[in-house]
Symmetry: D2
Subunit: 175 residues, 4 copies
């Protein structure tokens, strides 16, 4: 969910990237890239990452993060994913961390991606619509509900405090 | 965990009281009564509730809450549960929401309770020690891990935000 | 979800009944009553419970359970909730554990209930539709996601095994 | 927990490997390697993985899995981790999926690892002892509780079914 909800939490990112099944040299799109965290991590294995966000402040933020991380294989694009994707011919995988119109984005991704599409969502209706659209497109694989709690020190012992649960919805376009 | 951690959350209270299997007219102890929330709820069915806390500020807080709720069958006691329990002959059930020395409290409760003992804990080592002590006393029934998330409105949709997970450890002294 | 999914788990029932805010003497409907477990538990406080299920095998099962529990204040009705509710003038609360058409049922309940309506759901789309319908009817209070794990003995220690997570959606019709 | 509990679930593996912070070329130990799943995955980045298990049937199973995966940089060792580790001079990281004596293993790992140590545990007392031992050794970083539910198709909709929650305990020996 980008800047608004802060960067994707490490554990959710780890599971999301695992489900993306990125191969060495893959070309990926990161839609609603927010802080750029996912793009930067994915760029370790990808040959090219298109980091897309329609919010100027996200692009500004991601720009600095990408520079700091010294990543040269991330193309940062300011714009609506629906429009930006028209200019991309082919992708090996795509991560959607935030999007204005999930249906439109998924339809376009289904055309140009040959591989996995992973959506992170926290809004109930978005989860429901993502699953429905993926099913209609014939690309639905599975949905996950991830609940992580982290230890915090308290009086010499530890207790667990939860981070927000996230739904990870996985699709796949067969090659 | 009393005042420090705030009152027991509704959902955790509902499960804890269900597991206590309170019968109409039962006599119960609420150890580490904190705000008095559990005592007040339990007093609907119990004939008498002993609400015990060693912290003066908890007793002060619970006193007002009990008065506001107009409950006459709650005996509020300021003191260490280990000592206070020496003066109680018999209980039908006991809830432990917080305690300095869980082993001592459980040993005393095992002697005077004839029925269920339910402990709420969030500290890992306390959970482990509670289970171990209940097993040594031959009263362990089960432990539960409860994770509740509640809806919050966001951009016309809802998302779920978690409350702290709680361990509910259940013991039973056979009659 | 009735017989198909087995009876409502104790912890989910405890939270659901707590959220129903049943007062002594209330009249309640239990829609998709399945095994009758919720009806039997609620009948302790209610003056009358209408237990409704469209499945003959559920009604048969619930009939025996109600007889065994010796409850005289449960009216068991075999039929579609949408139709059955037409014959009921007023309810203080309603629990929906399963339903063919959640929108129709909620619309009818919104007319005759003066108090809480609690829906248990496990299907994603049903959750989404329940929240949306309650919002349209102006009766939505909150949705909960409940994840309970129970201890199991293993090599002298305990581990936790989860039961299926359940969404509890709460509505309220103001008096 | 090796063969007994089946292979580590994908999502738990993804988080565990992320927390290990494996760098290209690292040397790692996989203690209680079970089916070899973690070793095979980690061998993608590591220069060498020592896969250790004291159970003959685990070693047999892992042997075949490693051969099928055509991994040449995994050294499979049948023996008690406590003894086997005596023969290893230095490790960049270690994963413990199962172990007879977690205290002994952690003490030895604290000596030879320069980097992350990640333990997966499901037994309550093992979690508690792992945290305590890591704290005593001054290497405790954090503990996580991971609860994953996966979608299953039901009557044209999806519901979520949980896999067993796992504790991931993370330690780090500073270089």
């Amino acid at each position: 969910m980008g800047l608004k909800g802060g960067p994707t939490q490490d554990e959710v990112m780890a599971v999301s990237l695992f489900k993306l099944r990125i191969n060495e040299g893959d070309v990926m799109a990161d839609i609603g890239c927010g802080t750029g965290k996912i793009s930067i991590q994915a760029s370790e294995r990808c040959s090219r990452v298109y980091a897309i966000d329609r919010r100027a402040e996200a692009v500004e933020y991601a720009k600095k993060a990408i520079e700091t991380a010294e990543k040269n294989n991330i193309t940062l694009i300011h714009g609506e994913a629906g429009n930006v994707l028209d200019d991309i011919d082919e992708l090996n995988c795509a991560f959607v961390g935030g999007s204005g119109n999930i249906e439109t984005v998924l339809e376009k991704l289904a055309e140009i991606v040959r591989g996995r599409i992973v959506v992170n969502a926290v809004l109930l209706d978005t989860v429901s619509r993502t699953v429905r659209t993926m099913k209609e497109l014939g690309i639905f694989v599975e949905a996950l509900h991830i609940q992580v709690s982290r230890s915090h020190e308290l009086v010499g012992d530890i207790m667990f405090q939860p981070i927000n649960p996230v739904y990870i919805i996985v699709g796949e376009v067969k090659q």
